[in-house]
């Protein structure tokens, strides 16, 4: 008879290995429970780790896009307000010019002087609006480092730099237009037209009609810019909403990858505890008795 020989030590070794296996599984589960994380090191799940790192990077980017959108909305909102005010001022100039025309060359020069004075005031006010700042930067000044886009006499001080905000992956939105693109340049420049109108009112009323045409052209540009600003405001709002939704999605995906399923983990732990206790009590029973117990 050749049976596999069994000794106390071999039983003890086996029982010990089993118990240690049980205990280490229990320890794993408890570690997961206490940290709340499925993945504590890359080898726990290499794919999960890479996914989690990717999600974290995307999450940071999405949050940043949302912040960029906030900033962009600030710029666009400020521009919109400034342009709206500007439009009503320009309308006023148009009315005044029409008055000047109807007064005509034969009209009272005093009346035209009064109109010219008001046009001059509006001219100054529109320059003030053109120097509207967001933070410490003139929004119509391009990328100038100076504090104003136009000087008091309407000369452009800024540059033609474009201010953009990245509000999504590869989505860049222009949030400010340089002054010349908004108010025109050279003879067609809004402030130049206004001061011409003021001058012509006093000295050469017959030019007012052509001034009015120039003003209308400038107004058309202004309107186009304003509607562009509005459209981009919408776009940025949508992109921000998209970025915020993405933050929520990514957060939940990250949690799916990284975090434990609490009920499942707790029930796993209960099962493991039961298994461990059973192994302990069985081990105690198996290891104890020997022939010595039964000999007289």
């Amino acid at each position: 008879m050749t049976a596999f020989r069994v000794t106390e030590r071999s039983i003890a070794t086996n029982v010990l290995v089993g118990l240690q296996g049980n205990l280490s599984r229990l320890g794993d589960i408890q570690q997961r429970l206490s940290s709340g994380k499925q993945i504590s090191k890359p080898s726990d799940s290499p794919t999960g780790t890479v996914a989690s790192m990717q999600y974290r990077g995307d999450l940071a980017a999405a949050r940043q896009y949302s912040r960029n959108s906030d900033d962009g909305l600030g710029w666009l909102g400020t521009a919109d307000t400034a342009l709206s005010s500007m439009m009503s001022q320009v309308e006023r100039v148009r009315e005044l010019t029409l008055q000047g025309i109807s007064n005509g060359a034969g009209g009272s020069s005093d009346a035209r002087l009064a109109i010219a004075t008001e046009v001059n005031q509006v001219h100054d006010a529109t320059i003030g609006l053109a120097n509207t700042r967001y933070g410490d930067r003139p929004i119509f000044g391009g990328t100038t480092t100076g504090s104003a886009a136009y000087d008091a006499s309407g000369n452009y001080l800024g540059d033609n730099g474009v201010v953009q905000r990245t509000v999504g992956d590869n989505v860049k939105v222009q949030v400010a237009n340089p002054g010349p693109a908004v108010f025109g340049a050279g003879a067609g420049q809004l402030f130049k037209i206004m001061s011409d109108i003021a001058t012509d009112l006093q000295t050469n009323p017959s030019n007012l009609s052509s001034d009015l045409n120039r003003l209308d052209t400038a107004t058309t540009t202004l309107k186009a810019v304003q509607s562009g600003v509005g459209a981009r405001y919408n776009q940025v709002t949508q992109m921000q909403q998209f970025a915020n939704d993405k933050v929520d999605n990514l957060t939940s995906q990250l949690s799916d990858v990284e975090d434990i399923d609490l009920p499942k983990t707790i029930s796993d732990m209960q099962l493991q505890q039961v298994a461990y206790q059973a192994a302990l009590s069985a081990g105690a029973k198996v290891v104890q008795p020997s022939l010595v117990d039964f000999l007289r």
Partner: protein, 467 residues
């Protein structure tokens, strides 16, 4: 046939059973001694001379019993297999440990690792795009870049310190191997002498086997028993212990992680300088760790640092700083060598020199354009950028770590089962010993009974006949 030969036969039985009980006692005493192999009394009946001769006519049944020896019960094949599995087990367990520590050095996934600091850096560049003129935003870019370089330094330093610890341990193990080999050689000598004198050497052999097992675990040594009772130990195919002599080994090579590419860590025979290449055991794992694993991950980390420096520098130099001058290098190396994880530093101290703009109005006349900062922040999603290479590194590490973990688990189960088999073969079973004890006791009682019976018979013959 002698009158008293029955008595001497009974006496030999008393001696033999006594010896049996002694050995049983020894077994029971060592039931829990590590490395103890159970012993067995070999008995042999003593007959007369097997070859009949003049005046020597054996009746074949009178000599009693003799103890021919006390044998150590051990399965040489199981023991050899045990050594192999133990060596492999300590190799894989150590590799698993190393991968765990390397993963701890990288500390991913977390909110504090290199990945999240890269994200922070790109966010800072985004903020700079929004506010190119703001000094605090410019400072933040520099601060976050510095934090990132510090983390790269720290990660590299963790790997380097893991290397140093392993290197010290490696030297200590080399000394341990030499000491153990010396002890085995001494035991070999004693055993050969005992064997020649036909003295028992079971306990010496147990001690020696334990030492050989230790060498297997440490250096993956293999062993072969020789006819004179000595054991020869081999390391990487060459003889480490032969009879009463042993050959020392020596650890050499790089003392720092950065030196490994030039002078790898070596294990050599002290006498001729030829390399020893253990295939398993702790030291093989350490060699693998120091010459392959750690340099590999340190190299990959260096690659991440170089990718970071190259990508950011190239874009940074294409832009213009706040003063309108062309941008310089953003990251540089602190020691003149190519940029790596241990020497990468931020080259700029003055926040105004951060090149955020794509446009300039000429030197000394900068713009508040943030286009270049935006382009730099776009490196985050570049397919050749540092984020990508870093994630690749972590994926690589994770897979290797998982493999090491699984292999160690499988090997550990295998080793346990072989140990259990060895223990079953050469371990002490108390039930068996108790049974043997009773058997010997009863035989002893019976032999005593035989003696009494013969004594009674002689008494009858001597005292009660003829009177």
């Amino acid at each position: 046939m002698s009158t008293f030969s029955g008595l001497s036969g009974a006496l030999s039985a008393l001696y033999a059973q006594q010896r049996g009980m002694d050995v049983t006692g020894q077994n029971i005493a060592n039931a829990n001694t590590d490395g103890y192999s159970r012993q067995r009394v070999d008995l042999k009946s003593v007959g007369g001379s097997p070859v009949p001769a003049m005046n020597s006519l054996p009746d074949g049944s009178v000599g009693g019993v003799t103890v021919t020896g006390v044998a150590r019960v051990q399965d040489a094949f199981l023991e050899a297999r045990g050594r192999i599995e133990h060596a492999q087990n300590s190799y894989l367990t150590d590799q698993n440990q190393v991968y765990t520590e390397v993963q701890q050095a990288f500390n991913e996934p977390s909110d504090t690792g290199v990945q999240s600091q890269l994200s922070d850096l790109w966010s800072a560049w985004h903020d700079l795009t929004n506010n190119p003129g703001d000094a605090s935003v410019r400072t933040q870019v520099l601060a976050r870049a510095t934090t990132l370089t510090d983390t790269l330094h720290n990660t590299h330093a963790s790997l380097a310190s893991l290397f140093s610890t392993t290197r010290e341990q490696f030297s200590a193990y080399a000394t341990d191997v030499n000491t153990t080999a010396g002890q085995i050689a001494k035991l070999n000598q004693s055993i050969v002498q005992a064997n020649n004198a036909e003295l028992p050497f079971n306990d010496l052999a147990d001690q020696r086997d334990k030492l050989v097992m230790h060498l297997s675990e440490v250096a993956g040594a293999t062993a072969a028993t020789q006819t004179d009772g000595s054991v020869s130990v081999y390391l990487g195919g060459s003889s480490l212990v032969n009879g009463a002599s042993s050959r020392p080994i020596a650890a050499g090579g790089a003392g720092r992680l950065d030196d490994v590419p030039v002078t790898p860590v070596t294990l050599t025979w002290a006498d001729n300088g030829v390399a020893v290449t253990p295939q398993s055991g702790q030291m093989a794992s350490m060699l693998q760790t120091m010459n392959t694993v750690l340099p590999h991950y340190a190299g990959q980390l260096d690659g991440v640092a170089a990718d970071l420096a190259n990508a950011v520098n190239a874009q940074h130099m294409a832009g213009y700083d706040k003063l309108g001058n062309a941008g310089g290098t953003f990251f540089t190396s602190s020691d003149g060598n190519p940029v790596n994880a241990s020497n990468i530093v931020v080259a700029i101290a003055d926040p105004d020199l951060v090149a955020a703009a794509t446009t300039t109005n000429g030197p000394g006349n900068g713009t508040l354009d943030g286009g270049n900062a935006d382009l730099i922040s776009g490196i985050a999603t570049s397919a050749t950028g540092p984020d990508q290479s870093y994630r690749q590194l972590i994926a690589d590490l994770g897979v290797a770590g998982q493999t090491a973990d699984r292999q160690a688990g499988i090997q550990s189960a295998l080793t346990n089962s072989v140990d259990s088999a060895r223990e079953a073969q050469s371990g002490v079973n108390l039930d068996e010993e108790m049974t043997n004890l009773i058997t010997y006791q009863r035989a002893y009682q019976a032999a005593a009974r035989v003696m009494t019976t013969i004594d009674n018979a002689l008494d009858t013959l001597i005292n009660h006949t003829g009177s």
